[in-house]
Symmetry: C2
Subunit: 141 residues, 2 copies
DNA sequence: ATAAACCTGACTAAAATAGTCAAGTATCTT
DNA sequence: AAGATACTTGACTATTTTAGTCAGGTTTAT
């Protein structure tokens, strides 16, 4: 089990953006250069972030992206959700009525994975973009 | 990001095994039938569990597998480790000296993923096979 | 002897991942 | 009006991972 880059890139890009957000729209080109993420890939990611109203786009020269809410109000959950990177521990979930694994009852470990999912999502719910930016400033000093 | 079946199956199979463990070696055939997991796949999984000394094998007729330690002493961490399903949040870890993403410094979110990994592994460290068996007995009543 | 069970390694179809590529459209600056 | 910058969209693709299957063993109780 591993976290995919799309999710990591999304968070990295937003932390980068959040640091310059107050001043000007931030272009993907700048983020691409600073963070070493392919421009094309960033575009894919930001398209989703925009559709989920996490960022706003400003077209034209000097354009770029701006946060759509305060950094404090953007939680990791929102970001990962937007790029379809939420944690899914069980497949059987969608077919709850049928039970797991084609059996009429829940599988022996169903509750376990449910608990795990909650555990992880708690972590994501608590962390905001602001926390991450602050974290970086702290380390810099 | 999703948990893969191999890890889930390994845990399911061991919970099943743990319930009959005291009496006799449990054959993979039985686990396969009870849990609806392909026999061939189970063999692959148990080969790893054996190499990691989580189970012992008993060959020949009436053979099967037996836990190698008390259920209380087998943690989820051990199981997932054995089948190579530990959580890996960052790739850059192996190249720590070089920093992340080919850059000379850690990426903006490095600490975050580290924290997450710890958070998840804490969960796995706490849960033992015994806990899971008990959980199932509780629900049965 | 034979059947039950473990053991091993190679193989493979399907899905997910991590992008790339191409062809736009909108807006600012001059 | 022209050009440059930057967003926008959708299709495409190579690679890797996943989730197994398959074939051919070996060991041991009866």
């Amino acid at each position: 089990m591993k976290l995919s880059s799309k999710g990591r890139y999304a968070v990295m890009a937003l932390v980068d953006l959040a640091r310059f957000n107050e001043i000007n729209p931030v272009s993907l080109r700048d983020i691409s250069l600073r963070q070493g993420i392919s421009l094309d890939y960033l575009e894919q990611i930001f398209s989703k972030l925009r559709k989920n109203e996490i960022v706003q786009s400003v077209r034209g020269t000097q354009g770029g992206y701006v946060l759509n809410k305060k950094a404090r109000e953007i939680k990791l959950t929102n970001i990962l959700d937007a790029v379809d990177e939420k944690v899914k521990t069980v497949q059987c979930k969608k077919e709850l009525k049928k039970g797991c694994n084609g059996k009429p009852t829940k599988c022996l470990t169903h509750n376990l994975w449910d608990e795990l999912e909650t555990h992880i999502n708690n972590f994501f719910d608590k962390k905001s973009l602001e926390d991450l930016v602050q974290d970086n400033l702290d380390r810099r000093v």
